[in-house]
């Protein structure tokens, strides 16, 4: 009888652990954070998983003890209440052990944070300005600047009572008219601010978000080694269309990037487009 029960308990614990462990196995199904595409995002991901597993281990111990007690120390199985209600030793142990665990978390967290916030010695700089409800990107060294807004198809589909099925729109709500284009292999420094209310610039694959605050210029940085397109969204409530100001960053190989810069400059030179005036205003 008691053997049977302990087998049952083992199974229950195993099942619980598997359920908790499902987080990592299911990363590809969009259940979990991903390692992203930068050093920083990888570090953040590993930190996230480390803390998650520590929490799981603590959960197994605490909930294990609790459910064991619920199972064994029920009145209906004839359990009689013991009398103890204090133990200084035990209290000290379960104050000191969590403290030690916290220190083991704080060390890698401190390292990751210092790396994440170190925007020094950039290879290039991009200025990001939040607007209700679009982003403005400026490349001061290249004299390029442009707005980046939700793409027309998403915008049509997202209207109240629109007859367009969101599922039929490619990258629904995560697509823009003008992408932010950056070169691979360069340390890019972002200077982030806002023209109206507070926004937050977030591309998950880069590993961070940073608030765009009027009157402040925040710094952040990234370095991506492989070409690719990464998507994100404004992450700070900024009014009616907060949900509709996505971010798309495209990292290009240096040659492709140079070609893109040349094309942008040519375009800006050809026309007295609003782009050119905005460059003047922003700088």
């Amino acid at each position: 009888m008691s053997h049977k029960k302990s087998v049952w308990l083992q199974r229950a614990l195993l099942g619980g652990a598997m359920l908790l462990g499902a987080g990592s196995a299911a990363a590809e199904y969009g259940l979990n954070m991903t390692p992203g595409v930068t050093n920083v995002s990888g570090e953040v991901y590993h930190l996230h998983m480390l803390i998650f597993y520590i929490c799981c281990a603590i959960a197994v111990v605490v909930f294990g003890a609790m459910f064991y007690s619920i199972w064994k120390h029920r009145k209906s199985v004839g359990a009689e209440a013991a009398n103890f209600h204090e133990s200084t030793t035990v209290e000290i142990i379960w104050t000191v052990i969590p403290f030690a665990i916290l220190i083991s978390m704080a060390i890698p967290a401190t390292k990751a944070l210092i790396n994440l916030e170190d925007a020094s010695d950039p290879d290039m700089t991009v200025k990001i300005t939040g607007y209700q409800w679009k982003w403005h990107y400026a490349y001061p060294e290249e004299q390029i600047a442009f707005f980046s807004s939700l793409d027309a198809k998403s915008n049509e589909a997202r209207q109240l009572g629109s007859s367009v099925d969101p599922a039929s729109v490619e990258d629904y709500l995560l697509n823009v008219d003008n992408r932010l284009v950056l070169p691979v292999g360069k340390k890019v420094r972002f200077l982030i601010t806002s023209n109206d209310v507070i926004h937050s610039w977030w591309v998950r694959d880069l590993g961070w978000k940073k608030d765009a605050i009027p009157g402040f210029i925040n710094e952040a940085w990234t370095r991506v080694e492989e070409p690719g397109v990464y998507r994100g969204q404004c992450a700070e409530l900024c009014g009616k269309d907060h949900g509709f100001m996505p971010i798309v960053v495209e990292f290009k190989a240096q040659a492709d990037y140079d070609a893109w810069v040349a094309a942008q400059k040519a375009q800006a030179g050809n026309s007295k487009s609003p782009v050119a005036t905005v460059v003047a205003a922003v700088n």
């Binding site: 570090e43 929490c55 003890a65 120390h73 209440a81 209600h85 209290e91 608030d211 409530l237």
Partner: protein
């Protein structure tokens, strides 16, 4: 001498409640006021819940189907304001009103007239807040944190929202003063501080937190008011002000506020678990010290809500370390509850089920809280559904579960009737299953990249949002059971004994069920 006699004669008329509606308007009785608070809280729980249903209905599928984005923002903002200030806080004050005098052996609260006023402010405050829904420009829609500059774009609702918040603050501070005055002055002989039930202790500490931080909130919203109407620039960069300063001030209020919403819940659970484990609470004094430590730490962690605003690294490190420290006293509490159950003789009536649900689900919210404390990871979690999942685990399956546990636990004492145990258990299991369907997938949504406070989302988030919405509707419906059980227990039911629960300890159980209008007219002796 003659004055004393008239006073005595007068007292005789006051032994029973007045009749009719005026009883409730003019009452200075702690039980009547407790009942008013609790019923008001229940009403607001459903009003705020209805707004949550609108939110979940709009998020059921990608695309905008039901409301426009601005109205959606009004719903999220008012859902939070109403649930925090209208449902959870008044519920705790209601419980304090009912229970503190009965637990410390007092006849009533120390300041009964102020008690009346602190309740009756609330219906006006919330009528005004809800009334803004019908104003030009709609209700406030800048989130419950009402960050400038966004909140300064609010329409006609703006000054009404500020005034409503001022009134809620005044009500809370008066309630807190009353709690402190009652606990410090009206304990029965022999009831030393370290003999007080934990619910009394946690409320005493909560009351100090309230007095410390509600004026800070009042200051912050007043500065918003003058920024909008009197040409000040506290938070306006263009005028030399600082929008981030608002966030510092707000969260200096906001973080202790989080503990205002959870410390009394710790107290309730610490009353219930020993009763149904039939074993004294493990580590009473460490529980008291842990509560005090949490309250202290709550003042030095505020900026963990704003890691992404661009603080110096040293500041981020300080707030990260301080926040992580809170895990220690919180852990002590959980370990103490589990040790209380250990080698007990447990039964699982509805209050115990909700208390156990609290321990497990609140702890899950604590784990995600620890994850959020880690600043570098918070750069990913911040302002996503991961945060939404976290604080709903802490507030719904934490604070609200404790309030429900307490309601089931003391309802037989208050009404003299037993509630229907079968229905109570159904309510627990339905709530617990559906609340997890509602909030657990939101962890996944946040980690997968869904920001919070958006009315529409990319199709990759569709499945989990649909699951969450289904859980939401079912959880909302399950709460109708709670209203039904409470109301039917007030109206009748099996007679409850004075003791009610065989393992219950404490002065409130020595009184008849229902207790007399004035709890202890003669102070009981506490050994």
């Amino acid at each position: 001498m003659s004055e004393a006699t008239t006073h005595d004669a007068h007292d005789h008329h006051d032994h029973g409640p007045a009749k009719g509606l005026m009883r409730w308007v003019t009452t200075t009785n702690h039980k009547d006021i407790g009942t008013l608070y609790l019923l008001f809280s229940l009403l607001m729980f459903f009003v705020g819940g209805a707004m949550a249903m609108v939110i979940r209905a709009e998020l059921f599928a990608p695309g905008m189907q039901i409301v426009d984005p601005y109205f959606f923002n009004q719903m999220t903002t008012n859902h939070a304001l109403i649930m925090i200030f209208g449902a959870v806080m008044p519920a705790f004050v209601g419980l304090a009103n009912w229970l503190l005098p009965m637990m410390i052996g007092a006849p009533d609260m120390a300041l009964p007239r102020m008690n009346n006023w602190s309740f009756w402010i609330l219906p006006f405050a919330f009528s005004m807040l809800i009334g803004t829904l019908f104003m030009d420009g709609g209700a406030p829609a800048a989130g419950w944190t009402i960050y400038p500059p966004l909140v300064l774009q609010t329409g006609d609702a703006f000054p009404f929202m500020i005034f409503a918040i001022h009134m809620m603050g005044i009500s809370s501070v008066m309630g807190a003063i009353n709690v402190i005055a009652t606990i410090l002055n009206m304990r029965a002989p022999g009831m030393t501080l370290m003999k007080m039930p934990l619910f009394v202790w946690t409320w005493l500490i909560t009351a100090y937190l309230l007095i410390a931080v509600m004026p800070v909130l009042a200051g912050a919203v007043t500065m918003l008011l003058t920024d909008k109407y009197f040409h000040t620039s506290f938070f306006t960069a263009a005028g030399g002000g600082d929008p981030v300063m608002y966030q510092h001030i707000f969260w200096f209020f906001g973080h202790p506020e989080v503990y205002i919403l959870i410390l009394p819940a710790f107290g309730i659970v610490s009353q219930i678990i020993p009763t149904f484990a039939r074993k004294q609470l493990f580590g009473y004094s460490s529980m008291v010290y842990a509560t005090a430590s949490i309250a202290f730490l709550s003042f030095i962690v505020w900026a963990h809500h704003m890691f992404t605003v661009g603080m110096p690294v040293a500041g981020e490190l300080f707030f990260m370390y301080a926040t992580m420290l809170i895990a220690v006293p919180t852990g002590v509490k959980v370990f103490n509850w589990v040790s209380t159950m250990w080698k007990g003789s447990m039964t699982f009536e509805t209050p115990m089920l909700f208390a156990l649900g609290f321990v497990v689900l609140f702890t899950i919210g604590g784990f995600s809280g620890l994850m959020l404390a880690i600043a570098p990871s918070d750069f990913q979690y911040h302002d996503t559904y991961f945060v939404v999942a976290h604080f709903h685990y802490v507030l719904v399956t934490g604070a609200i579960y404790a309030i429900m546990a307490g309601t089931y636990y003391w309802l037989p004492k208050w009404t003299g009737h037993m509630y229907n145990e079968t229905l109570g258990k159904w309510h627990f299991w339905l709530s617990t299953i559906t609340v997890n369907i509602l909030f657990f997938p939101q962890h996944f949504l946040g980690l997968a990249g869904m920001p919070r406070r958006i009315p529409d989302y990319s199709v990759q988030f569709a499945e989990f949002n649909m699951i969450s919405s289904i859980g939401g509707f079912a959880f909302g419906l399950s709460q109708l059971m709670f209203a039904y059980i409470v109301i039917s227990t007030i109206r009748g039911g099996k007679k409850a004994s004075d003791q009610v629960w065989d393992g219950a300890k404490g002065l409130e159980w020595t009184l008849p069920s229902p207790p007399p209008y004035h709890s202890f007219t003669e102070a009981p002796e506490v050994k």
